[in-house]
């Protein structure tokens, strides 16, 4: 198929959940997809508005892309759940980007609101297809194919988090290493890591950091000597996977012998169970997921829980207080909880210290528990 042009997707916000779906859809329609590179240096961040770091990064990525693409893809995500909604900032995101790019680039800002009846997601994608000059049939087919590949992608997601460097998590052509290879032949991640380092044009410091970790045999050694610590990482997907926000905390965690668990492991039912008895329904889908999974993980099954949040995130600020207080009122949890708040000034050194200390606490607790279960 001849290439119709180029669509730019900023590597920000819900890119860190839906990018395989979006990319497959546009590629299915015969468009080339260009994803922005990382920002890496805080000097490069564009402060168009005084918002949370993830929002500022969206603007920065969009401005990076604007001269190289025909269209920018910034969907207006009103709701990505049939009942609950997104943060209000997502509703204005395309408009903010339009002003920041000074209207120089066409923006595909189709509204996604899954609360509406019928098949709202398909409808939104059909409209996007229409804007790009595709017929309904073509769009429908591309959407179905994208959906299939997306659900395939989601299947081994949790394995993928643990075995693929954070930077490559959303690169569809990087396969997830199989479990067998992983445990038997010690450090496998080096090879694929090198490959993308050339692809990404030397992905920068953070990337080298993670690839050197891949070469670090700790992960393998840990597997042999003692079981890894099962640590749940909870937060908005962009706080979890955007290394410009969290300085590749996940790689750091892996190097400390932690097995990463996320709320993706939990079914909607398990999350709902934790938040259904509240005096008022939490109406943000991400907020529900965070509160529900935090309570779920803190009630057992893991060795420790880390909650990642961005400074100035309205949802997290409010719910964080709720979580802390509710835990206290209900008698607390014996599982250690670490709350990390990120902004553009967060340094990796500080994070390392905190995570190492957290690891020690978790380990201490685990050891004392195995020696004298009564103490716990």
């Amino acid at each position: 198929m001849e290439e119709k042009g180029c669509i730019g997707i900023p590597r920000a916000l819900m890119f860190y959940r839906y990018s395989p779906l979006w990319r497959a859809f546009f590629e299915g329609l015969g468009w080339r997809v260009m994803v922005s590179e990382g920002v890496r240096q805080k000097e490069k961040i564009i402060y168009f508005e005084d918002s949370c770091l993830p929002m500022k990064l969206l603007v920065t990525h969009a401005v990076q892309l604007k001269d190289q693409v025909d269209h920018l893809f910034i969907p207006r995500l009103v709701s990505i759940h049939r009942t609950y909604i997104m943060c209000p900032k997502f509703r204005g995101a395309p408009d903010i980007v339009r002003l920041a790019t000074e209207g120089n680039v066409s923006i595909i800002d189709e509204t996604v609101d899954l609360r509406k009846g019928g098949i709202p997601l398909l409808r939104s994608f059909l409209k996007m297809g229409e804007k790009l000059g595709a017929s309904r049939r073509e769009s429908r087919r591309a959407f179905r194919e994208a959906e299939t590949s997306f659900s395939k992608f989601q299947k081994d997601w949790v394995d993928r988090i643990n075995r693929v460097p954070t930077r490559q998590l959303f690169e569809m052509d990087v396969p997830t290493p199989q479990t067998k290879n992983y445990t038997q032949k010690v450090p496998p991640p080096l090879a694929p890591a090198r490959r993308t380092s050339s692809l990404a044009g030397g992905g920068g410091e953070a990337f080298r950091f993670s690839s050197s970790l891949g070469g670090n045999p700790t992960a393998g050694v840990c597997k042999d000597e003692k079981p890894p610590l099962r640590i749940a990482f909870v937060g908005h997907p962009y706080n979890l996977f955007d290394i410009d926000i969290n300085k590749d905390l996940l790689a750091l965690a892996k190097s400390l012998g932690m097995e990463i668990m996320t709320s993706d492991l939990l079914s909607e039912k398990e999350i709902d169970r934790e938040v259904s008895g509240l005096s008022k329904e939490i109406y943000w889908s991400s907020g529900r997921e965070i509160v529900g999974s935090l309570f779920h993980f803190l009630s057992g099954g893991v060795d420790g829980v880390v909650f990642l949040t961005s400074f100035k995130c309205g949802i997290d600020a409010l719910l964080q207080e709720f979580i802390k207080r509710r835990l206290k009122v209900r008698g607390g949890s014996s599982i250690p909880l670490l709350i990390l708040s990120f902004d553009e000034h967060t340094g990796r050194e500080g994070l390392t210290t905190r995570l190492e200390a957290f690891r020690d606490v978790v380990e201490e607790r685990k050891n004392s528990k195995s020696e004298a279960p009564a103490c716990a």
């Binding site: 900032k89 509703r91 002003l99 109406y283 943000w284 100035k312 995130c313 409010l318 207080e321 009122v329």
Partner: protein, 366 residues
């Protein structure tokens, strides 16, 4: 049972009126002060918006004074206001304070009425027949007082830039509001309103001045409460500015009752339509209205816009980004003031003085 409610502008006057007329015992939280704010800040997260902290502080102080039933307006998505009660309840519980909570539904629907019915089941047992019988009358009285307060405040906004003795309007307004507050019957209220109006109008005024016209837009709590915004309205007025605002209790109450036919409500529709030039969707809360009002005011020939928002407010952060652009495009000065718990009264005074000076240059150049 002792009912209490948060402070917000002159809200205590008419909330008190409702409770008093219906004979329901109540406790008025002490006027919002540094102490209130400190209490609120101490017991919440730093990035939670300022109204949350102040309302929480009001509740803590009232509960410590012996109140046991909190009455609070509810709200809905997408702004955080809708979940204030969820979090505040847990915080109060954790502090060991006992309370009962009564939510006033944000929108009139069967579901909300049912929930309200459930919540008030216990409370109604404590009310006497007289309380219930007089409650509608209390509501009516409250509404009357609210309208009286708004009339007086609007009049004060008009005459303040003309005052010859600085601070005189504020003094007279306070007096007039206290008369309204003291009125017990409907006829006494009418008398108080008439006297109050006269008091403001009779003030010595310099009618030769041509005041600047500035609209205050933004998050409703910061716009309506003089403690939170450190008296922006009064300060601007005393600098010779005739201030307009469209956020009033009656606007918001009529809006939630879906009585959109009233003039002010239709004004909001106009603002919303205007905001579409910049915003493709309803962001929620006052975001679209803030932007729309700034656009409409620039068309109406206003001299400037002051945009108020609490730090980290979700919808208004989006609005402030867009307003910068609106100001440039429409050639209207827009001053965004972000409010948090810091002592910034002096800074706000300086900001406003500079802003008004800029308006003067602009007028001279024209």
């Amino acid at each position: 049972m002792k009912v209490t409610f948060p402070h917000l502008g002159s809200m205590h006057i008419f909330c008190k009126a409702i409770a008093e007329t219906a004979g329901i015992p109540y406790i008025l939280p002490p006027e919002t002060s540094r102490k209130t704010l400190t209490l609120g800040v101490l017991h919440s997260n730093e990035s939670i918006c300022l109204p949350f902290k102040i309302i929480l502080g009001n509740f803590i102080e009232a509960l410590q004074m012996g109140a046991d039933t909190i009455v609070m307006v509810g709200s809905g998505p997408p702004c955080r206001l809708g979940l204030y009660d969820l979090v505040q309840k847990v915080i109060l519980e954790d502090m060991g304070l006992h309370y009962r909570w009564l939510t006033i539904p944000p929108r009139l629907s069967w579901k909300a009425i049912w929930k309200n019915h459930e919540e008030t089941k216990e409370l109604r047992k404590e009310l006497s027949a007289k309380n219930i019988l007089f409650f509608p009358y209390g509501l009516w009285m409250g509404w009357k007082k609210m309208m009286a307060c708004e009339t007086l405040e609007q009049l004060a906004m008009k005459v303040r830039p003309m005052e010859i003795k600085k601070g005189e309007t504020q003094k007279r307004l306070k007096k007039a509001l206290s008369w309204v507050d003291e009125a017990k019957t409907s006829s006494a209220l009418e008398e108080a309103l008439r006297k109050g109006k006269a008091l403001l109008q009779e003030m010595e005024q310099d009618h030769s001045r041509i005041p600047f016209r500035v609209a205050i837009v933004g998050e409703l709590y910061t716009v309506m409460d003089p403690y939170i915004n450190r008296g922006v309205e009064q300060k601007l007025g005393e600098l010779g500015v005739e201030v307009t605002r469209t956020s009033w209790f009656s606007t918001h109450i009529l809006r939630s009752l879906r009585r959109n036919k009233a003039d002010r409500a239709s004004e909001r529709v106009r603002f919303f339509e205007a905001s579409k030039a910049y915003l493709g969707y309803d962001v929620g809360a006052e975001c679209n209205i803030s932007i729309g009002e700034a656009i409409v005011r620039s068309q109406e020939g206003y001299d400037g816009v002051v945009h108020l928002m609490p730090f980290a407010c979700m919808p208004e952060t989006t609005a402030s980004g867009i307003l910068t652009k609106v100001g440039k495009d429409r050639n209207i000065p827009i001053l965004t003031v972000i409010l948090d718990e810091q002592e910034i009264e002096g800074r706000i005074q300086t900001l406003l003085e500079a802003f008004v000076e800029m308006l003067e240059w602009k007028r001279r150049a024209a």
